[in-house]
């Protein structure tokens, strides 16, 4: 990679979470049976006409405001003309010269903790196409137009990213943002959040951009990273071998881990864009934009900054906890009910809770462990009823039985032992039973301290308060 610089721009298509389609009153719900949600307008029947969905407009404006972009007071819908079976009218209604949103940006956090501003050239509204299914029908493809007409917002970044990691960080930032704004469910498996990557390389110090290839339809963060890395290597190999990078569209093959050229794509698609005469220019006044602004939630960056200042959390924790609104809300509820230790709460939410949810493929909104129950557990750690270690056991039982922390602690007798006398007695017993190790320790084998800790813990069923145990043990062992 030495001597080469990578240049990446991402085009993200996010399906807007409206109830009906952008230009027709058909439902947008995922998973309907084929063509059950394709009406005459979606099917491009003779004589039908598009009418614009107000909520799609509001959602696009929300996005524009959240990325500090300009909202165009006047934007125009244009036809992008090409032939494909999943494109019923033979053109896609999109926006070309005058998009609804322009000149925004997002900040991403790099691995070293520094931040970088990624420019967003534009975001525009357009309709999604249908789907082609190829399995099971010999020599034919089956076309399902349920998805045709679903509203999309296409978000085009500046070519500001310089590594696959930066690209993934940006993509994740956009993904979080659209879910915060409740304009997109971000479900990549279902295709509601898709990414195309424009990748090129150039010699370090070279001012001009190299020829870029476009990798289409990357639907996971992992694939984006791998595809970009593969493509960068591929292009460098080509150039170092004296060849030229071809400007083309490529697909990522996740099984082989490589990108390949799309065979059937024409050399140059002349889309013959022109303003759609069936739609009038979209005009948005200040009052409309203001009314949308009033519905903006606290944005991820604002929330993370607040978590740092309000809860005293480090940036990393704030970032993880604010990755989704549900998780952030959950954390704040936990803290509200167990306000003794913000960092403790953060550790548990990011640690044990996240791991348990992941294992069962649940998300924090699933209700498996409501915030007040976790808060109950944390309160018992903070008031030293149980140690952190025991708390993990309690957590597991709470998780599997749905009981509260208190009922598990009581029923299993897991209260921490904080009574000096009891701990001392346990230590005395262990020392008495292990004279050899005692002698070795006193002779200088410091490592045996851990042995004694373990033995006392075992003797107390793990319930001795660790801090007190350590203090008392040290005193007694040294004689």
């Amino acid at each position: 990679m030495s001597g080469w610089e990578t240049v990446i721009g991402l085009e993200i298509h996010a399906q807007l979470a409206t109830r009906s389609k952008i230009f027709s009153g058909s439902a947008t719900a995922y998973g309907a049976s084929p063509n059950a949600q394709a009406n005459l307008v979606d099917l491009g029947y003779p004589g039908v006409l598009p009418v614009l969905n107000a909520e799609a407009v509001r959602m696009a404006v929300k996005l524009g405001l959240a990325i500090s972009a300009s909202i165009a007071p006047r934007s125009v819908f244009a036809r992008k003309n090409y032939f494909y079976p999943d494109l019923p009218k033979g053109y896609q209604i999109s926006q070309y010269e005058l998009p609804i949103v322009a000149n925004g940006s997002l900040e991403i956090v790099l691995e070293d903790g520094s931040t970088k501003r990624i420019g967003i050239t534009r975001a525009h509204l357009e309709e999604d196409a249908g789907k082609s299914l190829h399995e099971g029908i010999a020599g034919m493809s089956g076309i399902d137009l349920n998805r045709a007409g679903t509203p999309l917002v296409e978000i085009v970044s500046e070519p500001d990213m310089r590594s696959a990691k930066e690209a993934v960080a940006y993509m994740k930032k956009v993904h979080t943002l659209v879910r915060y704004l409740e304009i997109c469910d971000g479900n990549m498996q279902e295709g509601s959040f898709r990414c195309d990557a424009n990748v090129s390389v150039r010699r370090e110090g070279q001012h001009r951009f190299g020829t870029r290839a476009e990798i289409k339809n990357l639907n996971s963060f992992r694939f984006v990273e791998r595809a970009i890395n593969f493509e960068v290597s591929r292009q460098i190999d080509v150039l170092e071998g004296g060849g030229k990078v071809v400007q083309e569209t490529r697909l990522y093959d996740p099984d082989k881990g490589e990108t390949r050229s799309m065979r059937s794509k024409e050399e140059a698609n002349d889309y013959r864009y022109f303003p759609d005469p069936d739609l009038l220019p979209l005009e948005l006044d200040a009052a409309f934009v203001q009314s949308v602004r009033a519905t903006l939630p606290e944005l991820p960056d604002q929330k993370a900054a607040r978590f740092i200042s309000q809860y005293g959390l480090p940036a990393y924790d704030a970032g993880v906890l604010t990755a989704s609104r549900e998780l952030a809300d959950y954390y704040e509820e936990v803290f509200r009910l167990a306000p003794a230790d913000a960092k403790l709460a953060a550790n548990w939410v990011m640690g044990e809770l996240a791991a348990a949810l992941n294992k069962e493929n649940l998300d924090v909104g699933s209700g498996k462990l409501p915030a007040e129950r976790l808060a109950g557990l944390l309160a018992r750690i903070s008031d030293r009823t149980i140690s952190g270690k025991i708390a993990k056991e309690v957590f597991e039982l709470m998780w599997s039985t749905g009981s509260s922390a208190d009922s598990v602690i009581e029923s299993k007798g897991l209260r921490q032992i904080t009574d000096h006398g009891a701990i001392e007695r346990a230590i005395d017993e262990v020392m008495a039973r292990n004279p050899g190790q005692l002698a070795d320790y006193r002779a200088g084998k410091d490592k045996l301290f851990g042995f004694f800790v373990g033995q006392v813990m075992k003797a107390t069923g793990g319930k001795a308060n660790p801090a007190q145990l350590n203090e008392l043990l040290r005193k007694k062992l040294s004689g």
Partner: protein, 487 residues
């Protein structure tokens, strides 16, 4: 009574309401005339006999009960460009030869709700592209005044049907003159309303920024009645204008005196047939005698309206017709080798020569490298033409002139050369580019062929334009003439 066909739509609506005759009787008579005329005129593509009689029976029941809408029991025809639920809708094309529409156009629904009885779907130039009704997949339509001649286009079927008194009124569409020009060539009245006045939902699109649905009938009063029922805001059409529809019928009788008429300098010159010019000038004298004031106006960019149109209309059409691909409805070629072959042969077979010519023209003027020079340029000149009209309407209330440069011409006479055909619309296209309402009324004959007078008004001045047309028809009888053999 066997002379019911001689009555105007207005008279028939009144007669039905008065129960002087029944809709079934009237419908039956007209269906008979249609069937008898098909060989000679070919005005219809589909005749819906059984459904028509059933609708007529229902209308008679409603009328008997004192109910029924303003057009209760009145037989009409729809240009085969309007989608009619459960009824074949071909748009004059092989591409839609077998297409049965699952829905009604808004215009169709409104006229049905007003009580009108549909007798069938009229013949037309394929996808509304033509000025002579010679490009239809279903054969040419003949002019009832002289069957060797064209009736005009693209609404040739509707015009011939009304002229031959097969129906008292018919819907039609006008993109560059396709209502007004056939009205002129067939000696009847035809109105194209303001762009956005009549819903385009269900009206198969040719050129979306130019298409408008309108009426062909014998008189301005008839046109006013039908238009009043057809017009109005439709939430399904984003280009439909939300302003109230005046009662065009009530507005017909208002006084004309003082009407300022502008005569378009650009239209009275060498291109205009002298006989037609004489008829138009006589008509203008009638207006003067009624108290109108004539003056000359110049719209210097108007001569460029035909070249503008033949960039803009094909461009929009090339995109509107991309949906005809053999996938979801309409014609599909046999045994396609692959997807590309399916598209190419389906469209190559489904479309006729004129449609292909316009799709090719439109594709070219939108293509990379040519968009600015052709499409954008044309839309800029369009803006200049529009400004010319705006300026003119500060000085005058309406513009008048001939509707066409010549009367009807022979079938086959102009098909060899597209431009010669395109120039038929030279006086009508300007109103489409600017979205203005225009009407053609019969104003005389040249060698026994009808001549039309065109009246164009500012946006949403249909009431005034119809009023002016009606005033003319009160003082003249050109609109009462019926071709020999059809009286």
């Amino acid at each position: 009574m066997s002379d019911l066909h001689r009555r105007t739509l207005t008279e028939l609506a009144a007669g039905l309401r008065q129960r002087a005759f029944s809709s079934v009787e009237l419908t039956g008579e007209l269906l008979g005339r249609i069937e008898a005329s098909q060989g000679a005129l070919n005005a219809f593509i589909t005749v819906t006999r059984d459904a028509a009689l059933e609708a007529a029976r229902a209308a008679d029941r409603a009328l008997a009960g004192g109910g029924g809408g303003p057009l209760a029991g009145v037989p009409i025809a729809h240009k085969d460009i309007f989608c009619t639920a459960g009824v074949r809708t071909t748009c004059g094309s092989r591409m839609l030869d077998n297409f049965v529409s699952p829905y009604d156009a808004t215009v169709v629904r409104r006229l049905r709700n007003a009580g009108a009885v549909m007798l069938g779907k009229t013949n037309m130039d394929e996808f509304a592209m033509g000025s002579s009704n010679e490009t239809s997949h279903f054969g040419a339509v003949r002019n009832p005044w002289n069957r060797q001649l064209v009736p005009g286009g693209s609404s040739g079927g509707s015009a011939a049907a009304v002229a031959a008194r097969l129906v008292p009124g018919a819907t039609a569409t006008d993109t560059g003159g396709s209502i007004r020009q056939p009205a002129a060539l067939c000696g009847i009245t035809g109105i194209k309303p303001t762009y956005g006045r009549v819903s385009r939902y269900g009206m198969i699109a040719f050129a979306s920024s130019l298409d408008q649905g309108g009426v062909l009938a014998a008189t301005a009063a008839d046109a006013a009645l039908m238009l009043r029922e057809m017009a109005g805001f439709d939430a399904n059409d984003s280009t439909s204008v939300d302003t109230p529809v005046p009662d065009y019928v009530a507005a017909l009788e208002g006084p004309l005196a003082g009407l300022r008429i502008g005569l378009l300098k650009e239209f009275f010159d060498k291109g205009l047939d002298p006989g037609s010019e004489r008829c138009v000038r006589e008509a203008l004298k009638v207006y003067e005698s009624l108290g109108a004031r004539l003056s000359e106006v110049s719209l210097p960019h108007l001569p460029l309206s035909v070249p503008v149109y033949y960039v803009v209309a094909p461009a929009e059409a090339s995109s509107n017709l991309a949906r005809y691909d053999g996938v979801r409805f309409g014609h599909r070629c046999q045994n396609p080798r692959d997807l590309n072959d399916m598209y190419r042969r389906t469209r190559g077979e489904g479309f006729g020569a004129e449609v292909k010519r316009r799709i090719m023209t439109g594709t070219y003027v939108l293509s990379a490298g040519y968009y600015d020079a052709y499409y954008l340029k044309a839309q800029r000149v369009r803006a200049l033409i529009n400004e010319d009209f705006i300026r003119a309407f500060r000085e005058v209330d309406v513009l008048m002139g001939p509707t066409t440069p010549t009367p009807a011409f022979a079938i086959g006479a102009k098909t060899a050369d597209p431009i010669t055909m395109y120039l038929n619309d030279i006086y009508t296209i300007g109103a489409n580019l600017a979205g203005l309402p225009g009407i053609s009324v019969p104003c005389g004959f040249v060698q026994e062929l009808p001549v039309g007078l065109q009246i164009v008004g500012p946006h949403f001045s249909e009431a005034r334009v119809l009023n002016a047309a009606h005033a003319f028809q009160r003082s003249t009888d050109w609109h009462t003439r019926v071709p020999e053999g059809y009286a």
